[in-house]
Point group: C2
Chain length 412, copies 2
């Protein structure tokens, strides 16, 4: 990977760009497809259910993480899978439009179409996606993919015989590393993993971009100590593997770590790490709150819903948000929380409706929740809630006025 100037200069620029972005909101609006004057100017005029963004909170989350990465001597490569919007990507990259991780090729194409570059498709790549990957490779200055298995390379090499990458522009490939999550990635203790990297390093059609790991098991940890224990392992496993590769004569251009819990509660130092790539931190949610990654005040999105009915027999009220609006994740945790109403909980979510009751079983005071009044759901899992919508309404700092609407990238 090439950086203009030194890495330290680039990291300083990473921070400065954020400040500049705050001064120039217009840039965000230009890329969202819909302008503020297309949409209602007050949340009470929005059709419910809908997804809204407390943008000032998301910006703060982005600033905190960019500052943290800079101070830890890393670049931030935010994961796009949470926000899936151009406006969100601008804030996440501090306006640089460079360096994002993606979970689908549709996301890569969406970002590429809006002038973003240095994009990593962070899912093990197989040959069936070869044609699309080469198209994106030709459009982008820097496009990286990920592998963790010889068979993936076998398949791609077969495809490359029919359609190779352009002369002198090998496909940049990260190797996924399993740091204990055991979802994907090579076993860093297995010498065969070094063989895989050597194969990439020696290839004429591929180039080795570095290591990528994701400590997804940190989602199962609760409290700062438990998360930090994992973040230390995530760092050490990956940095050690990089050291063994270097001992074997292989240049390791970049070492990347990241999950929202481990990047929110990072180890004291990240020596040997070049990139952090969390995603959920841009929005956060009640899952991250319960892990200890954030407070409720840090959670940026809300699902707005209206009260449809009152049912004294069951001590519930009906809302017009079901799992189609928030996802069905987190049933045992009340699917998130109701903002400003800690006394309420969602007791059931159906396809297009939800039921709310009191948290302690006392009879609801229905006069406080008139039919058609708006309630605001703090998502249990903001990535999943976002995925259910085609757009997100961006609120001004008062959390009441809609400034503009961003399109959410869909598909694969």
């Amino acid at each position: 990977m090439h950086f203009e100037g030194s890495a330290a200069d680039s990291r300083r620029e990473q921070r400065q760009l954020v400040d500049a972005l705050d001064e120039d909101r217009a840039d965000t609006d230009e890329h969202d497809g819909r302008r503020a004057d297309d949409v209602a100017c007050d949340i009470t005029q929005l059709r419910t259910p809908c997804l809204v963004l407390r943008e000032h909170v998301m910006k703060r989350n982005a600033h905190v993480m960019i500052d943290r990465a800079t101070s830890l001597g890393c670049f931030l490569r935010p994961h796009f899978k949470t926000v899936k919007t151009i406006g969100g990507a601008l804030i996440a990259t501090g306006g640089s439009k460079r360096r994002l991780a993606c979970s689908t090729l549709a996301e890569v194409a969406f970002l590429a179409g809006h002038g973003f570059d240095d994009l990593l498709y962070a899912v093990p790549l197989t040959a069936s996606k070869w044609a699309e990957v080469l198209d994106l490779h030709s459009k982008l200055e820097m496009f990286h993919v990920m592998v963790d298995h010889h068979d993936q390379l076998d398949g791609m090499e077969r495809r490359a015989k029919l359609r190779p990458p352009p002369e002198g522009r090998p496909l940049s490939i990260f190797v996924g590393v399993d740091c204990g999550y055991h979802r994907d990635g090579v076993d860093p203790e297995d010498s065969a993993s070094i063989t895989l990297v050597k194969r990439l390093d020696a290839s004429a059609i591929f180039t080795f971009a570095g290591l990528y790991t994701h400590a997804g098991h940190s989602y199962g940890a609760v409290g700062p100590d438990a998360v930090r224990a994992i973040s230390v392992v995530e760092r050490d496993v990956t940095v050690s593997f990089a050291a063994r590769l270097r001992d074997a004569g292989i240049k390791v251009p970049s070492v990347g770590v990241g999950s929202t819990p481990t990047c929110s509660l990072p180890p004291p130092h990240l020596e040997g790490v070049d990139e952090m790539h969390p995603g959920n931190f841009l929005y956060y949610d009640t899952t991250q709150q319960s892990i200890g990654s954030c407070t409720e005040a840090d959670i940026a999105p809300r699902v707005l819903t209206r009260v449809l009915g009152h049912y004294q027999r069951s001590n519930t009220l009906l809302i017009d948000a079901g799992w189609t609006a928030t996802s069905a994740q987190g049933a045992d945790q009340g699917y998130g929380a109701i903002a400003d109403h800690p006394e309420l909980r969602i007791s059931a979510l159906k396809q297009e409706c939800g039921e709310i009751t009191s948290r302690d079983g006392t009879p609801l005071d229905y006069s406080k929740f008139p039919i058609d009044s708006i309630l605001s759901i703090i998502p249990y899992h903001s990535c999943a809630a976002t995925q259910q919508h085609n757009q997100i309404h961006v609120l001004d700092d008062d959390d009441r006025s809609v400034r503009c609407t961003w399109r959410i990238c869909k598909g694969w």
Copy 2:
């Protein structure tokens, strides 16, 4: 409600239309937005993850339910929330393009735009949706909404002072009845529920269309006896309430019951019931299979996915379908099943990837599941899986060839 000719004639026509539709597939294709030649002709050419439809299975499901409704002396008003496609609605209505229940106003508008009519928005309506409802009311010959609370009518009456329904065309309103599900609907034992219907009946801007109930608690029943016990109560509660309304001098034009379990395992007779309105039966899924509503052979949709990687350390393989492709519902039931591979189960679903392992813990034979080979997921909840996609690929009877692609209605 008006029917051409007698109700019995109409129900006979309901059956005949299905047979005619089988002869004329072109009608299905004309309305789906994309023709067969736009898409791959073999499933191996499809981008994964994707949703595919074994159309012959769905047609059989539709035929069985239409026959059942006809033989029980009822009309079928299929719920559109499961298929959300024009092609699916044509099959569900036997080509009549009449009589569907909808869960969103977006669905009503989508169907109205394709020549469908006699549509019921089966969610308690509140005043905030008044303007949209009146627009749809003006476009459709027969459009029905649902209420279950005086406050809903209060709100609408206030709006109607500013914008009333057209002269001589009151808004047709069903009253939701709680038959034991306790999600919504009026309490049929409460005399205040009769007052609500009287209010509708006496209104100049509303007209009383009938009763609508949904025995959603049947989803918690397992086995034919348990489901049938609920289907009997669903019928009796609603028919009894209708009788009390008639005793009070109110004409009850239609009595509707329905959930997929209770309509798949109906009571011996449905005397006094005019309409059945199940939805999930068009697709079915492993949830319905476990309740006893269907067999695995009756489940029409599949989520296609490809193998991305092999991980012997964790005895898993990685697939390119996560909860974004199937929903995260049914974790404790393996999120559904893998077609043709009862020895496999999905052990985890992440955002864009899933993990598969053996059901009994024996080491996977990876040679049977090469990287890039296709696996086919039988959904745990087909409504939720469908909701995750923008389109569904319709397969020919061989379950291998893609005939056309239908657009899925999104939003609210």
